[in-house]
Amino acid sequence: MTDATAPSTTESILTSTARDWSSDVTTFKGVPWGKAMMWIFLVSDTFIFTCFLVSYMTVRMTVTDPWPNPSEVFALAIPNELFGWQFLESPIPVPLLLIAIMTFVLISSSGTMAMAVNMGYQRNKKGVVLLMSATALLGFTFVAMQGYEWSKLIFEEEVAPWNNPMGAAQFGSFFFMVTGFHGLHVSAGVIYLAIIAYRVGRGHYDKTNFEIVEITGLYWHFVDLVWVFIFALFYLW
């Protein structure tokens, strides 16, 4: 154990794993406490989201009422006029348009977060604050768009968690519950990002290190990761 963290090329995967697990002091070499804790928390959170999604799968497979086609339900029309200027003959409905935009917003925020982490390791305070703020802003945009999507579903399509005029009531139930739970995660993440960005800006971590940025990043990427699954399994399937 001369260099605990250097990636080894000569060791096999199993030897390396066994050696780390049979060593003293730390099992995850070079991983700070906070990061280890965040990783384990994310495993736990994975179980929460997967249980939600497995429930969704089970109920969707069990109900005999028709399941609405999300691609039609979440279609959004491109307007044919803007500020009185008519540029199209009629509005063009595009399936999942808003969802697609939301997906791209969230991916963009993941990108800026990754950059922020990188800046953190370069101890580039300004870069960290800027990029984290950008991430938080994108996250906020995502939540706002989700709010719009919810209101559209509730008021225009008349879908409620307990009621769905298009078929199985569970469509609305799962939609609001799963996206709501994810939305809560995003909102918490936005607040978390804002706090950390503020503290980085105030020089709170100048004397130690910027690991906290990476830990925040892990959480944020996880939120993005969950959206990947929701997007594929709820909207596309």
Binding site: M1, T2, D3, A4, T5, W21, S22, S23, D24, V25, T26, T27, F28, G30, V31, P32, W33, G34, A36, M37, I40, F41, V43, S44, D45, F47, I48, C51, F52, S55, T58, V59, T62, V63, T64, D65, P161, W162, A168, A169, Q170, S173, M177, F181
Partner: protein, 585 residues
């Protein structure tokens, strides 16, 4: 292992409060938090004990208790079960023992994030208050504690025929969700401490089995509680805003409900995906504690340490794929019976190995019959009884006649009621000197032990036979109108009266224990640093009780496993973990 070259070792920033409130109430010291967890868990456990008395009196002497109707009976079984499993056993074994043992036994100054650890306790306390607030509410309002059974199966949990289906269940689910938050905060701390903050020389394979048990149990908790959390959220939504996750079309007491299409079995699967690991969340720390107690007090190394560790790991992994053995008669897919019966009986093998190794540890040992040792020995016998009846119920076809009878009640009380409680008592008698600096009274301890062990055995062992006859569980009144059917003969009722009397005596005997705890705290014999001659690190702290931060400036360095008892050619019969190898030679 060149320990000096560790490039990076973090330290816990210790919070040293000045005020009394900061030192003893909002303390971030893991030992204080352990005591807080322990006292709260015991207090709430006493509530559950009283509930069990009420139920037993109703079973043996129906109608004796005024105002204890079917509603009160059902809410009592529910609250008793939930309190015992979650708020007492899980909280005590992980919250109290976990907090106390993990940093001390790993050689850490504290948990890695003491503030989060403190929050964990306070959130746990909130969950307990939310759970128990239903009792004052019952006095002043129409609200009734939920009577759906601790498994909370829908649809009955939230339909009108069940007591507490309106608000009692909401309080219960809310309390569970809060508990899960509390557990997650604590559990993340235990795991990270065990994985990342051991002292030098403390490899995983040198850790005492107590820490191993707590480690795997906590990990199981972190990945099993989410399933309960999810099902609790979904049931809350079903109850409060009328979604139909678990609720199909229902005509409840003549009224059509607004539900359609849900799947009640989904809840059962999610519940037991949590619920079975939960059994091992309770059992594994108890296994660990008992292993350590037997080894220390028998003055002999634990037999087959590596097998013991791998058995814990194997049980932990297997426990995630055996959940539906609680659902053999639930009407699930018929083929599941084959899968789950097989995995369940496979899990018997590592469990049996643990029992063999405890027994074999006694062979050619030098057994000191201290109070902790008595509890450990009784644990082994009780656990064997609970384990083999588990083989009955795990085997799908035998479960068919026995499920939902008193056989099940007897089985799980033996295996996850009495056994872990015996381990907890043993652990308290064992660690009390280190925690307080005083010994517990031996005589009172022995009286308490014999009442508890023999008493619980005569309560639960005969109960299995009621199950064979076919007495169903959760019956408010079995002999309706004084009529004793074939499946509940008069002799069975007499047995029930006997069990009730035994239960009242055993319950009352627990007051001895509380007296002992309180009395010895002030008047007990002063304890030395290492009164049992144990090897693990908690007995090597410079002060007794250990100060905040546990160690002096230097953390101890570990040179050996925790079980060097009776090493040949050595002048004492035990060598603590931090004694270097050359000195011991």
């Amino acid at each position: 292992m060149a320990t000096a070259e560790i490039p990076y070792q973090e330290t816990v920033p210790l919070h040293h409060p000045k005020t009394w409130l900061g030192k003893y109430v909002f303390s971030q010291d893991h030992k204080v938090i352990a005591v807080q967890y322990g006292i709260t868990a015991m207090a709430v456990g006493l509530v559950a004990l009283v509930l069990s008395w009420l139920m037993r009196i109703q079973i043996a002497f129906p109608g004796f208790l005024e105002g204890f109707g079917a509603d009160e009976y059902l809410s009592s079984i529910t609250m008793h079960g939930m309190i015992m499993v979650i708020y007492l056993l899980t909280a005590f074994l992980l919250g109290a023992f976990g907090n106390f043992c993990v940093p001390l036994m790993c050689g850490a100054r504290d948990m890695v994030f003491p503030f989060v650890n403190m929050l964990s306790y306070w959130v746990y306390l909130i969950s307990v208050l939310v759970l128990l607030v239903v009792y004052p509410l019952m006095l002043f309002t129409d609200i009734q504690a939920t009577g759906a059974g601790w498994t909370l199966y829908p649809p009955q949990t939230i339909t009108a025929g069940t007591p507490g289906a309106d608000w009692g269940i909401v309080l219960m689910l809310a309390s569970l969700a809060i508990f899960i938050v509390a557990f997650t905060m604590g559990g993340l701390n235990y795991i990270t401490t065990i994985l990342q903050a051991r002292t030098r020389g403390m490899t995983l394979m040198r850790m005492p089995l107590t820490v191993w048990g707590i480690f795997i149990a906590t990990f199981l908790g972190l990945i099993a509680f989410p399933a309960l959390f999810v099902s609790a959220v979904m049931m809350l939504l079903d109850r409060l805003i009328g979604t139909s996750f678990f609720m199909p079309a229902i005509v409840s007491l003549g009224q059509k409900l607004e539900y359609s299409g849900g799947q009640p079995l989904l809840f059962q699967h999610l519940f037991w995906f949590f619920g079975h690991p939960e059994v091992y969340i309770v059992a594994l720390p108890a296994f660990g504690v008992v292993s350590d107690l037997i080894s220390v007090h028998a003055r002999k190394n634990i037999f087959g340490y590596r097998m013991m560790v791998w058995a814990i790991v194997a049980i932990g992994i297997l426990s995630l794929i055996v959940w539906a053995h609680h659902m053999y008669v639930a009407g699930m897919h018929p083929a599941f019976g084959f899968f789950f019966a097989t995995t369940t009986l496979i899990i018997a093998v590592p469990t049996a190995i643990k029992v063999y190794n405890w027994t074999l540890t006694l062979w050619r040992a030098n057994i000191k019959l201290t109070v902790p040792m008595l509890f450990a020995l009784s644990f082994v016998l009780t656990f064997i009884m609970g384990g083999i009846t588990g083989l009955f119920l795990g085997n799908v076809i035998i479960d068919i006649p026995l499920s939902d009878t008193y056989f099940v009640v007897a089985h799980f009380h033996m295996v996850m009621g009495v056994s872990p409680i015996l381990a907890i008592f043993g652990g308290i008698y064992h660690w009390y000197p280190k925690l307080t600096g005083r010994m517990l009274n031996d005589t009172v301890g022995k009286i308490h032990f014999y009442f508890t062990f023999v008493g619980t055995y005569v309560i639960y062992f005969p109960m299995h036979y009621l199950g064979f006859v076919g007495v169903p569980r959760r019956y408010y009144e079995t002999a309706l109108g004084g009529h004793f059917p074939d499946w509940y003969p008069v002799s069975a009722h007499h047995l029930n009266i006997f069990i009730t009397i035994a239960a009242l005596i055993v319950g009352a005997a627990q007051m001895l224990f509380i007296y002992n705890l309180v009395h010895s705290y002030f008047k007990g014999k002063k304890a030395s640093d290492n009164p049992w001659g144990a090897n693990s690190l908690e007995w090597r702290t410079p002060q007794t009780p250990p100060s905040h931060g546990n160690w002096d400036e230097r953390l101890p360095t570990v040179h050996r496993w925790a079980y060097d008892f009776g090493v040949p050619g050595h002048d004492t019969d035990h060598i603590p973990q931090d004694v270097p190898r050359k000195e011991s030679a």
